[in-house]
Amino acid sequence: MHIDQYERYWIIIIAAVLGAFFAALLAGLLIFGVRLPSTPGADYFVNPLALDAEFGAPGLRDMGNGQYTAHIIAQMWSFDLGSDETYKTYFESKNPGTTYTGVDASNQVMRVPAGSRVTFSITSRDVSHGFLIERHNANIQVLPGHIGQITVQFNHAGEYRILCHEYCGRAHQQMHALIVVEEV
């Protein structure tokens, strides 16, 4: 089979470029510690109709040393962060004298101190949902029956939304929550 001389050079270039890209990926994984969301070993399956253990009481838990765990349940059409604070109470206390009337008034708010490292474990009670934290490279496909887990470092104070990124029915667009990273 005839292959032109220039085409041979081109094939070598392709191999070199793709090889370099893949080496960069492996470096990200092995040297820089990028991790993909995965189910923690022992709890491979959970029953979405009978969520118990930590998911029986979802929410943030302080593990000391700036380490936290957060167990979250995604459901049509909200994130259960196990928090009493809602958009309504949060925004009304932030802007005294105003009344928050959005349809998302009951969406929950979670507060963590700046510098904390939070390991999120998330599952769904019903259908497929998404979990994405703005500007923090945290992205999980949330499936009923499985736990997605990812660790996020919060360095900068601010408000960051958790967004559902998978279509999950009629009010999917209202499904978001708020993480408030507080100055310490």
């Binding site: 089979m1 005839h2 292959i3 032109d4 220039y6 085409e7 081109w10 094939i11 392709i14 793709l18 890209f21 960069a24 990926l25 990200g28 994984l29 990028v34 991790r35 993909l36 969301p37 995965s38 189910t39 491979y44 399956f45 029953n47 979405p48 049509m76 959005g102 349809v103 998302d104 019903d126 259908v127 497929s128 998404g130 994405l132 703005e134 500007r135 490279n137 945290a138 992205n139 999980i140 496909q141 499936l143 009923p144 029956g145 499985h146 997605g148 887990q149 939304r161 967004l163 559902c164 990124h165 998978e166 279509y167 029915g169 009629r170 009010a171 999917h172 667009q173 209202q174 978001h176």
Partner: protein
């Protein structure tokens, strides 16, 4: 109408097809496939611009009074989004590809299809399937988008319809295989024309891949929607879907490559640079497009990191045939440009940019460069964690599917529809304007979607509804997509004018021949290339290795399969 003239001699099935018209048998069979495809596209693509309007804060607040812009035909965003995905990505493509493949197969091999009745049976299966799925979507009982992830459920007619479309396409593939084998028997030692080689490879890949979604639909979703079973496993459903979902995009792409490899050289008046490397590229696409699908599941919980990394590597490998294509087609274009008086540099613009049939393909190639680069970024799992399910992904696949594939199909339709109708293209100028507005609109749209996605704008979300969250960072980019949408809406109107005009208003006879090559290459490629059995064995083996562990990890009938279905129909 010229009648077919069967010639005597050993090759009794040889037909000399008329250059500027179609045989009656072709006209009806190919015509109906292409017309159904274009009708589906006409409705499906209309949803797109209105989605960009509804998602744009500028349009929603300034023009919509904060209430959002309603979708045409369908009031409900996710219903319109389902229509957009199903009609454009599943119906338009499948009907167009089957019709185009029938046409190219018989014209290249200069013989009739092995069985016209089987070809018609395939069409009827696909069409009944389309009607069933359309019923479910139009009656608002299938708001599940074109990926229909379990346990969100549509009406059972949606799944039965999709299953029939796939089964119909298998019958169509069988017609192509039989025609090819009959030609092979009559022409021992001859090399099959490249176009038919590619179509055979495409159908082998398609049948293998669509087994995944067929199993998902028939064993999981259809019985669940009928109430025969009560629970399912969303992770297994996603694994089976994406076994199919990635090769699906290559099923769309290979016919566009057929046009670039075998028709564009004829339209430019030069030979293809390398037929053999082209064949090698098609074989690589056929083999490597399936064991890569986990790159759609990088952030799924129920799949091991090892599987994700190995599918990432395989995804890099499946870019090789496209990079070979870039060289091969690039070198062919250089030949053509030099023939038109170009030098080392100026061959780039010494192309027939004012010929809509060629310009469509060249614009498609330019968008495909963007699509390819963004695709390699998606395939890098470290970046995918930032980009999964954001509008970035939508920007990416509109460069490939709505760019390279659809633009090339427009280029094909602009010579194929005139042949079907027996009249020349209504207006070459309008067709050219349609191509360039599509190209510009798609670039604006892709840039906006891509940039907003980097800042976390979520895809498949009705950003025009109350209670939605829109980051300030997304706003200018979402508005840019609406500008792209406006340009694409203009392009769509031009498309309707050209197609309807060709059908009803054109009076002149056809002047453009079908750019079909009937001969194999002068120097024959290795005989191994046409040993399909060997390649099929490699396909089976590679997928057992790459997908077997993924599926086994997901399949647990004791602890898994506990998730009840949820009606996705309510609004």
């Amino acid at each position: 109408m010229e009648a077919a003239q069967p010639t005597s001699g050993r090759e009794t099935t040889f037909i000399k097809f008329p250059a500027l018209s179609m045989l009656e048998s072709e006209r009806s069979l190919i015509g109906i496939h292409i017309l159904v495809a274009l009708a589906a596209l006409s409705i499906g693509l209309l949803m797109g611009p209105f989605q960009t309007f509804r998602r744009s804060p500028f349009v929603t607040e300034t023009l919509g009074g904060g209430q959002g812009i309603a979708m045409p035909i369908f009031s409900y965003y996710y219903q319109a989004l389902t229509v957009h995905g199903v009609l454009n990505a599943l119906v338009f493509t499948t009907f167009f590809i089957v019709g185009f493949s029938h046409f190219v197969t018989q014209r290249s091999l200069q013989r009739p299809l092995a069985s016209m009745s089987a070809a018609w049976a395939a069409f009827v299966l696909m069409f009944v399937g389309l009607l069933l799925a359309a019923f479910a979507i139009i009656t608002n009982q299938a708001n599940v988008l074109f990926t229909f992830y379990a346990p969100l459920l549509a009406h059972w007619t949606f799944y039965l319809g999709l299953a029939l479309v796939i089964i119909g396409s298998w019958v169509a593939a069988a017609v192509t295989f039989m025609t090819y084998m009959a030609w092979r028997k009559d022409n021992p030692g001859k090399t099959v024309p490249l176009a038919v080689f590619a179509i055979v490879a495409n159908y082998i890949m398609w049948i293998t891949a669509s087994l995944g979604v067929a199993i998902e639909v028939v064993t999981m979703l259809l019985p669940l929607s009928l109430g025969i079973i009560a629970t399912t496993d969303p992770q297994v459903a996603r694994i089976l879907f994406w076994f199919f979902g990635h090769p699906l995009v290559y099923f769309w792409l290979i016919p566009a490559y057929v046009s670039w490899y075998t028709m564009l050289p004829k339209q430019l008046g030069v030979p293809l640079f390398s037929d053999s490397v082209g064949r090698a590229a098609f074989l690589m696409l056929m083999i490597f497009s399936i064991p890569v699908g986990v790159h759609h599941l990088f952030v799924d919980p129920g799949i091991s990191e090892l599987a994700k990394i190995s599918h990432s590597l395989m995804t890099f490998i499946v870019t090789v045939p496209s990079l070979l294509t870039a060289f091969n087609i690039g070198a062919t274009l250089e030949r053509a440009g030099r023939q038109r008086g170009g030098n080392m540099i100026s061959w780039v613009w010494k192309q027939p940019w004012s010929n809509p049939l060629v310009a469509a393909q060249l614009c498609g190639m330019l968008l495909f460069i963007v699509g390819g680069i963004t695709g390699i970024m998606n395939a890098s799992f470290t970046l995918n964690v930032a980009l999964h399910n954001t509008t970035w992904v939508v920007g990416h696949f509109h460069m490939t599917l709505a760019g390279a594939v659809t633009l090339t199909y427009f280029g094909i339709a602009y010579w194929l529809v005139p042949l079907i109708r027996g009249r020349r293209l209504f207006s070459s100028k309008l067709a050219l304007a349609q191509i360039y507005t599509w190209f510009a609109g798609m670039l604006l749209f892709g840039a906006g979607m891509g940039r907003a996605g980097i800042d976390g704008a979520t895809r498949r979300t009705d950003l025009g509804a109350p209670g939605v969250y829109i980051s300030d960072l997304w706003v200018p980019w979402l508005d840019l997509t609406a500008l792209g949408g406006l340009v694409l809406l203009i392009s769509s109107v031009l498309l309707y004018v050209v197609l309807v005009g060709t059908w009803f208003r054109s009076t002149e006879p056809v002047e453009t021949e079908a750019p079909i090559a009937t001969e194999g290459p002068a120097s024959s490629p290795p005989a191994l290339f046409e040993r399909w059995g060997t390649w099929i064995a490699i396909i089976i083996l590679s997928n057992v290795i790459m997908w077997g562990p993924v599926l086994l990890q997901g399949l647990d009938f004791v602890n898994g399969f506990l998730v009840p279905g949820q009606p996705g129909a309510a609004r």
